[in-house]
Symmetry: C2
Subunit: 111 residues, 2 copies
Amino acid sequence: MARLMLRIDLDGKGSIGPGKVRLLELIDEHGSIRRAGSTLKMSYARAWGLVHDLNETFGKPVVNAAPGGKHGGGATLTPLGRAVIDAYRTAERRAERAARPQIQGLVRRAK
Amino acid sequence: MARLMLRIDLDGKGSIGPGKVRLLELIDEHGSIRRAGSTLKMSYARAWGLVHDLNETFGKPVVNAAPGGKHGGGATLTPLGRAVIDAYRTAERRAERAARPQIQGLVRRAK
């Protein structure tokens, strides 16, 4: 099935796309930035960097990360983090529905 | 102003995003793959590669390129090339309108 991917640029304050949103969803699922990142074959530094970018974009944390210990400290989404996921997934669903005729037209032309 | 960028994945037959569409528009404007590419700071090989990808996706050319000479051969869009631009830009407009509440909500939360 054809898929639409969105990137939303926020007035020079950063951007939100499928990679960052999927990472947040996996942090919620795994309770760990490291494990979420490794599911996406990302280094810990890269995963942390994306979380940091989101924190900077919104001026407050999207993830609460407890200090790591032997087994890591655990990470949970903040309400802001959940709101970002919800807004993005809703935008994606609405955009996909609105653009469906054009997407299907392109699929029909593709060999 | 916040901007939505779309990438449309066509059932494993390739993808269409802002880079390829902008390149087609510039080929139309300049009549030259090389000049269109250089406007986007792309090498000729890279620009040609993107045109080639689109030709492969659709199984026929999106650009008619005359053989190059001293001044290059000139390039024009085919009707298919124009249809691809139209479908993408229409999809973008419709998606942006449909997702506007979510995009504006994210902009408001961004610091």
